[in-house]
């Protein structure tokens, strides 16, 4: 069992449905690697495209597993790529599936998160609001004219994640197809945030009183969290 088994299954089911409708495109990492790295602040007047504007729809989460999913590095796209989008602003979802060996899941999560936060690309601005699983991006006109595409972002994220010692595979999934698909991913996004919240509470606050904890229902349904709690309280060592 893994922390995110249900969420991975949900995402895989979503992808299977989209694949059956030929609505998923797959990209390899190598052809899209090497876009220059740079932290950018892009104002509206320089913006060619906006993804995940707070008022439009936005979702971002990382899930991982030692068993299934992300068997090889790849980028998947549901919906139009940047050069195919005909409006200035679209809903946006970025999901990252990581495969690896996670001895201390909390520490591993922190490293994965760092790898994602540190991925900054020239002409592309990302802002994230982890507590609400939101991601807000802007692509500047110059980057779009130079051919910047979502697979460039996916490749940079995968490169960054593969630099983490315990990661053996990474899959980045982008959804730009609209609000309906975003709705379908709301549940795994929300559940992921709750699991991460519970993990964070246990590890940061060191409070293990389930009765007063707002995450008790999450732990009840995720065996790995209960294991983590037992490990942290020393119950496993006894």
């Amino acid at each position: 069992m893994g922390l995110f088994d249900d969420q991975i299954k949900h995402v895989q089911d979503f992808l299977a449905e989209k694949q059956s409708l030929s609505q998923v495109r797959e990209f390899q990492v190598s052809p899209y690697s090497g876009w220059p790295s740079e932290a950018s602040l892009i104002l509206e007047e320089d913006t060619a495209l906006e993804l995940g504007n707070p008022g439009i729809g936005s979702m971002s989460f990382i899930i991982w597993s030692e068993g299934h999913g992300a068997d090889h590095d790849r980028i998947l796209l549901v919906g139009p790529d940047l050069n195919e989008i005909r409006v200035q602003s679209v809903p946006f979802c970025q999901m990252i599936l990581v495969k690896g060996s996670f001895r201390d899941e909390y520490e591993c999560w922190r490293e994965l998160r760092e790898a994602v936060y540190d991925t900054k690309l020239e002409g592309f601005m990302t802002r994230v609001l982890p507590s609400r699983q939101m991601i807000w991006c802007r692509v500047d006109r110059e980057a779009l004219a130079k051919g910047f595409l979502l697979p460039h972002l996916g490749a940079a994220l995968i490169r960054s994640l593969r630099d983490v010692s315990f990661v053996s595979g990474a899959e980045v999934i982008f959804v730009t197809s609209g609000k309906e698909d975003m709705e379908k991913l709301k549940k795994p996004g929300y559940d992921t945030a709750r699991i991460v919240g519970a993990m964070m509470k246990m590890n940061e606050e060191k409070i293990y009183d389930c009765e007063s904890c707002e995450y008790w229902d999450v732990c009840k349904s995720v065996a790995e969290l209960r294991m983590m709690r037992r490990r942290l309280t020393g119950e496993l060592a006894k």
């Binding site: 932290a39 602040l41 104002l43 802002r127 994230v128 609001l129 507590s131 807000w136 964070m200």
Partner: protein, 251 residues
């Protein structure tokens, strides 16, 4: 011009917001640069003068950040990236200008870690603009704060009263004690004649960079809440822009 930070300071009612609004208009006409305009006066007059709606103030960002810490929903790293997000959300944009309002502090208590996170986020923000204009709070309160350390030029706005000039002199002195790096210049408001300027120059060590008279156009724009972006050429705007040019602030 890279990362220049200019603060407009002075006693209450001296005309800081008028100067800031005219300055912002001048910056909006410079397509070769990106400017960040910060309304640091809790009364929020600059946003009104420019007719820029405030989406969310820095203090609201601060309050939300404090809430996230209290509920334990985020750790320090997440809070830092969230601050970048919330600040971006708080920015109102108009062409090459980005506008931020500090707001009115409502959360009582010491939240040094939040202030430090926000300071880092704002410093990053400032680093992405060619010029940052700060319309400061009245008096010398903000001169004591960290924000002033980064200020390269302080425009001291005063009317011709002795009290106004004294406040301007105090601000210069305090700023020198804090950083010693700021340049300062006195911009006189409600001047009736050049002789009056000469008289003031004779009794202060402050460098007078310019002056402007009481102006009917400004009065009308204030009274009717018209946007200073639409301000036609007038004696006050001419005086402000000439002073900024003389002090090489617009270079």
């Amino acid at each position: 011009m890279r990362h220049k930070v200019v603060a407009i300071c002075g006693k209450g009612g001296a005309g800081k917001t008028t100067v800031s609004a005219v300055f912002a208009k001048a910056l909006s006409e410079r397509n070769d640069l990106r400017a960040l305009v910060v309304d640091a006066d809790p009364t929020g007059g600059l946003g009104m003068a420019l007719s820029i709606p405030v989406k969310r103030s820095i203090d609201e960002v601060r309050a939300e950040t404090i809430r996230a810490i209290k509920t334990g929903e985020s750790d320090r790293r997440d809070i830092a990236v969230s601050a970048d997000y919330l600040l971006m959300e708080a920015i109102s944009e108009r062409g090459n200008l980005a506008f931020l309002s500090i707001g009115r502090p409502e959360q009582i208590g010491c939240y040094c870690s939040v202030n430090s996170l926000l300071r880092d986020a704002i410093e990053f923000l400032v680093g992405n603009f060619d010029i940052t204009l700060i319309d400061a709070e009245a008096g010398i309160e903000q001169v004591n704060r960290d924000v002033m350390r980064a200020v390269e030029f302080i425009v001291l706005v005063s009317d011709t009263s002795a009290k106004g000039i004294r406040v301007a002199e105090t601000i210069k002195k305090v700023a020198e004690e804090i950083s010693g790096q700021n340049k300062t210049g006195l911009l006189l408001n409600r001047v009736r004649s050049e002789d009056e300027v000469r008289e003031i120059e004779a009794r202060t060590e402050l460098e007078v960079i310019g002056w402007f008279p009481e102006d009917e156009t400004i009065r009308r724009f204030d009274a009717q809440e018209l946007s200073f972006f639409d301000l036609p050429p007038c004696p006050a705007s001419k005086g402000v822009v000439e002073a900024l040019e003389r002090a090489k602030i617009l270079d």
